[in-house]
Point group: C2
Chain length 222, copies 2
């Protein structure tokens, strides 16, 4: 593990220690009740997947404030660091587990996003977030990463009936949370599960692809 | 605080320390998404209240195993001790907060429940649970208690729109959890919110009334 990763891991541990916490089991069961309810209501599994993502998006838009204030995070110099921050600090803070990231191949054409600095500041004021300025042009930096979550707690105690196994994206709320949180720091991303333990894969993996760096909109009161 | 309460409080702290935990904020927001979804789907607020209780019941029936194994709880000698256990150990283990209990006036007629011993053992085998044997006849023991939850985390960040304020029992899932968990140890109870901070009361209060001590059903394999 690199020094940077160890530093981020320790930051994640500290942030998690400072959070109000509840039993993981209660959360997992409540989430299970939510998914079951959506299946009953919506019937169509694609709609359930979309609904979970949409719910996650709203949650992510709100959770980013807590993340910024509790993680003491400063600017991320590129998309790689942003994804490392999600894996080592964000996941730890909110789910109590760590993830890993690795470079992936983008599936969409993305313009003008190779280098930037996302202002993940400790301020929660929107006007301080997301100023995009060039900072790195390393060839190593990609616009697309895979976030591996070896121990996704949402999977605990869950076994999918065979008719849902290859259709339901059970933890899709997480894709929404990441998308919503990053949009609040001016990063429009596309997130999707590529593998999932509940489908008998070895690990949960979410592909996070940067689509666009959004422009800050400043409103002038004068 | 009595010596018994301090002992139970310390038991709750230890059990909570041994639990896998996640961020309270993520849980609270996910729960909020669940309630919002139910309101959209069911329209009728009474149905939403019932649905939340019903979901809680299923969760409680499963959480009792975790409670018994992690809390190292032995027999509760009467209903008062059972309610203390919920307030000081159960709430702490799963929600990270403590409650208080006080005697209340039953609203239903309840037969033959004045004294018992619920086997809250560390075993999770159903056959070891809930043998009712007389153990106390103190006049101090009631069949009805109020569980006060001064800091119910489910209320965090929630403000009810005025049209829901006096109708929606926002945390009704908790009544279901208590009812489900106690039914697994042979205690049939009726639970209902009597006050709620979201309705501008000073504190959340749940009335827990013992309705019946269920008979153990032993299945003979021979």
């Amino acid at each position: 593990m690199s020094l940077d990763n160890r530093r981020l891991g320790s930051k994640g541990d500290t942030a998690f220690a400072n959070m109000d916490k509840i039993s993981c089991e209660l959360f997992v069961m409540t989430y299970g009740a939510l998914v079951t309810q959506l299946i009953k209501d919506l019937k169509d599994i694609d709609e359930v997947n979309s609904k979970l993502e949409e719910m996650g998006y709203s949650i992510g838009c709100r959770l980013i404030d807590e993340f910024l204030s509790k993680s003491q995070t400063r600017n991320c110099k590129n998309f790689h660091t942003t994804c490392e921050m999600i894996a080592k600090v964000g996941l730890k803070m909110f789910l109590g587990v760590e993830g890993n990231i690795r470079k992936s191949t983008p599936t969409n054409n993305v313009a003008n996003t190779s280098s930037f600095s996302t202002s993940m500041t400790t301020s929660v004021s929107t006007s301080n977030l997301g100023t995009a300025t060039p900072s790195s042009t390393s060839d190593d930096i990609s616009n697309c990463y895979i976030l591996e979550i070896p121990n996704n707690p949402l999977n605990d105690f869950v076994e999918l009936p065979s008719q849902f196994k290859n259709k339901l994206i059970y933890s899709n709320i997480l894709c929404g949370v990441i998308r919503g949180a990053l949009e609040m720091v001016q990063l429009k991303v596309n997130c999707k599960f590529t593998t999932c333990k509940l489908k008998d894969d070895d690990c949960d993996r979410i592909q996070i692809e940067l689509e666009e760096i959004l422009e800050d909109v400043f409103e002038d009161d004068d």
